[in-house]
Amino acid sequence: MTDATSQPSATSQPGATTRLQAGDTTTKAVAVVDDLTVTFATDGGAVDAVKGVSLDVRPGEVLALVGESGSGKSVTARSMLRLMPETATLGGAVYLDGTDVISVGSAKLRELRGTAGAMVFQEPSTALNPVFTVGWQIAEGLRAHGGVSKKEARAKAIDYLRRVGIPDPESRVDHYPHQFSGGQKQRVVIASALALEPSVIIADEPTTALDVTVQAEILDLLRRCRDEFGAAIVIITHNMGVVADLADRVAVMYQGEVVEQAPVGELFAAPKADYTKRLLGAVPRLEASTGAARRAAITSEVEPLVSAKGLEIEYPGRLGAPAFRAVKGVDLDIRPGEVLGLVGESGSGKTTIGRAIAGLTKVTGGSLNVLGTEMLGYRERDFKRHRKDIGFVFQDPATSFNPLLTIAECVAEPLVVHGEVSNPRAARKRVGELLEMVQLPASYGDRYPHELSGGQRQRASLARSIALRPKLLIADEPTSALDVSVQARVLELFLELQQDLGFASLFISHDLAVVGALSDRIAVLYRGDLVETGTTAEVLGAPQHPYTRRLLASLPVPDPAEQAERRRTLEALENAGS
């Protein structure tokens, strides 16, 4: 074992602390990861998740761990508090406040958890226990480390709730988690992490489950944690925009190893490792697609494939409760051959509209005309003949395939159902062609869904949706479950297919950058209302509605200098709004 406190990390560079004040370079690191290895025992054999990672964090510094899924970033962060399942074997050392977490006994480890290092989890709604008040949950952590009375703990809980920006903390402290919004819940989680005044806060994808506008607020709060509380923060993220917004130093992980470690400005300006370059190159930029001009020829005179007028969709409420109106009077047209991007945050009704067009959700008011059939009170028998003209790509490629059928059988399913072939085997040649169209080897047809990666599965999903040459393709967040570099390929493929086959498409996404990259027109939804529609250039270049403007400004861009600029714009917007 080496003495961590006296050993400077091999990878830290003089420029690493540029954002800190002079003299801080001598500050001892509060957390040091030294040659950490983590191996999991699985049915398929031993898997090396982390292969010799060394990192360090100083007080008042934000270290971002970036990488794709499976790169070992979460495992590295979790092993800093030894939050590991039994199947994991850890090697190397992790020093928190000078104590090695890997070799320490369980009593001492419990003492270190919370006070030396605290954790902020990805999903705030599962990190909080639904049957206790938030005040109790914050106090629980304080009481676990002893020395506080019930009263003091409560006072402290109120204090921290106020400091993380929960309005009216005196009464809110007695509320239950479900009475808070997602963003507020994450604030509560951060408050309970801060309450023990840890030396380092480990935030595992703290904003991934949140909407962009809320994400901006939470990032702001984390920034304040660093500036006001002087906490060291390790933030794990796959979002390069978040990195640019918050981090001081970045460690890029790939397949269990740190491939590059550099101050944030340096990393974005001059990435050294090939992998970093590829990663940065794959991040979609916020700009109108180049294809938009080409398709400007699509005139409004053509009969639209889908036409919604005053579309209303309600979900029935529980006994006695009023129905929930997910979509409140939306007017929308999709013309042949165009890509309409539908943007909105969670709960805005964007997915509901997509599902209504495919006949998966009932329309309850207004009018929705799909391929000449009125969907308000339609009968499946009348709509069935149009089914072959509609393709649907689902969000999660992991669940959109029947795990017991091969990819070829899944892709052949639409052909079999519509009687174009008698059985999946007869469709094998067609399936092979379809798979090649989405750049998958035809031999992949014999594999089962779990034998494909997420990106490959989503491409197979595309192949299935175009099997019947549909006139309309509905893509419901097809890339949000994918890593950025994979996302870039899938989007590229989508554009190519759209150009070759000329189908119209409703592209649903929460990510303006993704929508901007491939849409001809963009429609922005906000809480069931359509607040803005226009060509991509119009909406991204000169947004009219204040919500669109806020949405645009909240989106962090992968460029630290530009992001700092955008942050000021957002603040100005918020101030103007309030």
Binding site: A41, P85, T89, S400, N402, E413, V417, H450
Partner: protein, 331 residues
């Protein structure tokens, strides 16, 4: 999801059969438990099939080939290795033939209840609506009765008091079936309700697949994952229910078939007079078979849960790997 991915579907069929998969995957004491269970059950199966060859006498035989009647309550001897009963039956022969009855009843009961339970559960869960509500209420109502009482009532209704061998087996099997259908129904219904909202089922709906095809092709095969488990646990329970029925006199009569529960009830009065062999052997037969089936069930349960699954071989693999890497470093 994770569980299905462990089964490599490119392997030959026999390697993908329920118990075989788990056996190949298991390690340590879980493997020992599973193997013990499988061996015990296989043994009973062999005994059941080869009962006429193994047993020296018939189950209803009261006299030897020489026409001389068997002695009554005779202790174990070379002629009657496990002794004879008050009625003059050979205990060993009756215990051996009892295995045949038990295995038959359990197999019939499990097959019938699984078929009915799975079909009802799938339709109820997928279709929903009033049909679902009625079926769930009926299943709950069946749960409310003590299972043995229900089995007795059904047994009386079906057999109407007659106690022929095949009639008795069918009656016993069906009365057990009634008890277990709700269990399969509930499990499959819950899976069907979950699967109904899965993206792959919705994607089938989007392309216009008809409901029956969705149910058989997409829902059914994905909802049967936990069935082998319930099946084994229920099978051991079914043996006990059958024995309970026999004990209370609702099973198969002594001249139409051998039944452990019935033999036990006859042996009740023998205990006081020091005649132990009439009760111990059928009793042990029940206990060991239940134990064997439970071993399989419990180990399947543990192995199907990745958190409970022992992975000793893999830990060894890790340490071996580390050892070789340090060797490499020194060399």
């Amino acid at each position: 999801m994770a569980d299905t991915s462990l089964v490599d579907r490119h392997e030959p069929l026999w390697k993908r059969l329920p118990v075989v998969v788990q056996l190949r995957r298991s390690t340590g004491w879980q493997r020992a438990m599973l193997i013990t269970g499988v061996v015990i059950c296989a043994l009973y199966l062999v005994v059941a099939i080869a009962a006429p060859l193994i047993a020296p006498y018939g189950f209803g035989q009261l006299q030897g080939a020489d026409g001389q009647g068997f002695p009554r309550t005779a202790p174990p001897s070379p002629e009657h290795i496990w002794g004879t009963t008050v009625g003059g039956f050979d205990v060993f022969s009756r215990t051996v033939f009892g295995a045949r009855t038990a295995v038959l009843v359990v197999i019939v009961a499990v097959i019938v209840s699984i078929t009915i339970g799975v079909i009802l559960g799938m339709v109820s869960g997928y279709v929903g609506g009033w049909l679902d509500r009625i079926l769930v209420v009926v299943a709950d109502a069946i749960y409310a009765f003590p299972s043995l009482l229900l089995a007795i009532v059904v047994s009386i209704v079906i057999s109407g008091g007659n106690s022929s061998y095949s009639g008795g087996i069918v009656a016993a099997a069906i009365s057990i079936t009634v008890v277990y259908v709700p269990q399969y129904f509930r499990v499959v219904r819950a899976e069907a309700v979950r699967l109904k909202n899965e993206a792959f089922v919705e994607s089938a709906r989007v392309i216009g697949t008809n409901p029956w095809r969705i149910m058989t092709r997409h829902v059914l095969r994905n909802s049967t994952r936990s069935l082998p488990l319930i099946l084994t646990l229920n099978a051991s329970d079914a043996i006990l229910t059958l024995a309970g029925l026999g004990f209370l006199g609702f099973g198969i009569g002594p001249t139409s078939g051998a039944e452990w529960g019935y033999d036990l009830s006859r042996a009740l009065s023998d205990v006081a007079s020091g005649v132990w062999w009439t009760g111990v052997f059928p009793g042990v037969a029940i206990v060991v078979l239940v134990l064997g089936v439970t071993f399989i069930g419990e180990s399947l349960n543990d192995i199907s849960d990745p958190r409970l699954r022992a992975r000793r071989r893999l830990k060894q693999l890790v340490s071996r790997k580390q050892a070789s890497s340090t060797e490499g470093a020194t060399a």
